[in-house]
Amino acid sequence: MKRHLISAADLSRGDALLILDTAEELASLADRPIKKLPTLRGRTVVNLFFEDSTRTRISFEAAAKRLSADVINFSAKGSSVAKGESLKDTALTLEAMGADAVVIRHSASGAAHRLAGWVRGSVVNAGDGTHEHPTQALLDAFTIRRKLRASGGRGAGLDGIRVTIVGDVLHSRVARSNVLLLSSLGAEVTLAAPPTLLPLAVDTWPCAVSYDLDTELPKSDVVMMLRVQQERMTAAYFPSVREYSRRYGLDAARMARLPEHAIVMHPGPMNRGVEIAAEVADSARSTIVEQVANGVTTRMAVLYLLLGGTEFPEVAS
C-alpha cells in the first residue's frame, strides 16, 4: 500500500482486498465486551474538517479511538481558518504537533493531494470537493461483499456483480471513487443519470453510462442512489425536483423491478422524497444503516494498515 490514501485509484486490487479482509476480521470487535485494540497507542490522528460532516468525522473518530490512537478534531468553524489561515499554514501547525495521520475533508478538489506534499504523516482523503472519497467506496465495497458473497466473502473480489450508480454523478466524489474501486475489484458498474449530471469525460471512466434507470434496474445486483447536491449546483441541471424524482428517484414501484437479491445503498445524508422514497430507505433491502456501521470497521482497517506497521520511508510514493 501507498503511504497516503488520496484516491481509490491508488489502490490495486490486492491493496483493496487486503483492506476488505482486514475489515472483515475487525468486524467481530463490535460484538465484544471491550471494543478496543491497543494497536495505535501513542499515535495521533488529526481530523481536519473544512466542510460539514457528521457521519464521516464521527466514523473516523470512532475508528481511531477503537485502535487506541489519540484523536484531535479540527473543524474550520471557530479555528484560525475563520481568520484567514491558509491550508499550508494549518498543515505546518499540524506537522509541528506531530500528527501521524491527517484525515482531511475539504471543499476544494485536490486539497488532500496538496496536503500530502506538506506533512510527514499519512494523509487520508475524507472527501475533497467533487473529486474523491475513497473510504466511502471501500465501505460500500465491503457492504456489497458482505451482502452478496457467501460467508462474508473473505479474499473474494466483486467479480461479475452489477452495480448501478444513480443520480448526481457530476457533483459526487462518492461516485468517482466507487467507479474506480468497484471496477478494480471486478464489478460491472453502470452510471444512470440525466446527461446534465454526468461529467464531461465520463466516457474515459471504467464503466457504462445509461440515461434510463428503468432499463437498468432488472439487471442490477446493487443500486446505489446518490444525493442530489443542491449546495454545489450553480445552474439548473434539471427542470424541477419533481421531474428529477419521477425519472431518477427510487420509489417502491421501481424497487419492485429489482431482482430478488438486490440491495439498495445510499452514502447519506439522504433527501427523502427526492432521490429515494422513505419507504425504500426504510425497507429491508436498504443497507443504509449497515453502511454506517461498516464505515467504522473499514476506516479502522485503513488506519491500521497505514499506521500499524513501520513508518514509511521518507521518499515514499
Binding site: T22, R32, G309, T310
Partner: protein, 191 residues
C-alpha cells in the same frame, strides 16, 4: 545430533520430527491436558494463527476420541497486540473465532506451534483479557526451542528442541503445508 539431513518439500534442513512423531506428541499432550484439568471439563482450546489453529483442532479431536468429550475449540489472533508491529510493514490479520460458550470462567489452553521468545504468548494473554476472564490459562506448544525473552513457560510441550538463535524452526502441518514435519535449518522461511 545423529539425524541425517534430508529435504522435505524441496526445503533443505534437518527433520527433527516426522508425521508419526508429531502424532504421538499430540496424543501425549491430549492425555496430559485431560490429566491436568481432571477430565477436560470446562476446557477451551484456542489456537494462535496460523499453525496453532489446526493443532488446537487436532488436540480437540484426540480428546474427543479418548473421552467422548466435545472440547470447544477456536482461534485467537494476536497481531493487533504484538509489541513488534512497528518493526515491519502492517501485516494481514488472522482470524479470531471464539466458541459460542465464550472463555469466561473456563480453562483456556492456548495452542501454538513454536515457543521461542514468548512475545506471541504475551500478546495472546493481552488479547484474551479483552475477550473475557478465563479461570486459568495454560499453554501447549508443539516445539519449545528456548531463548525466552519474557517470564513465560509452556504447560504442555511436544518436544524440547535446543537451538541456536541463528537457526530457524519450521513446523509444517498437513492443513496448511500439505504435510506434517518439523524442520530445523540455517535460513529463514521464504515469506
Amino acid at each position: 545430533m545423529d539425524a541425517t539431513a534430508h529435504s522435505v518439500a524441496g526445503r533443505d534442513g534437518l527433520a527433527v520430527l516426522d508425521a508419526e512423531e508429531i502424532r504421538r506428541a499430540l496424543t501425549r499432550i491430549a492425555h496430559e491436558i485431560l490429566e491436568r484439568t481432571h477430565g477436560g471439563d470446562e476446557v477451551v482450546l484456542l489456537g494462535i494463527p496460523t499453525r496453532g489453529v489446526p493443532l488446537a483442532r487436532r488436540l480437540a479431536a484426540r480428546i474427543g476420541e479418548f473421552e467422548g468429550l466435545e472440547v470447544p475449540c477456536g482461534s485467537l489472533d494476536v497481531t493487533m497486540h504484538r509489541d513488534d508491529l512497528r518493526l515491519r510493514p502492517a501485516r494481514a490479520l488472522g482470524r479470531t473465532d471464539l466458541p459460542p460458550s465464550g472463555v469466561d470462567g473456563k480453562t483456556v489452553v492456548l495452542v501454538d506451534d513454536v515457543l521461542y521468545s514468548g512475545r506471541t504468548v504475551r500478546a495472546a494473554l493481552d488479547a484474551l483479557t479483552d475477550l473475557g476472564r478465563p479461570r486459568t490459562v495454560q499453554l501447549a506448544v508443539l516445539v519449545d526451542r528456548g531463548h525466552r525473552e519474557l517470564p513465560i513457560r509452556a504447560d504442555y510441550v511436544g518436544k524440547n528442541l535446543p537451538t541456536s538463535q541463528r537457526e530457524v524452526v519450521h513446523v509444517l502441518l498437513t492443513e496448511v503445508d500439505g504435510q506434517d514435519a518439523v524442520m530445523i535449518s540455517d535460513e529463514g522461511r521464504p515469506e
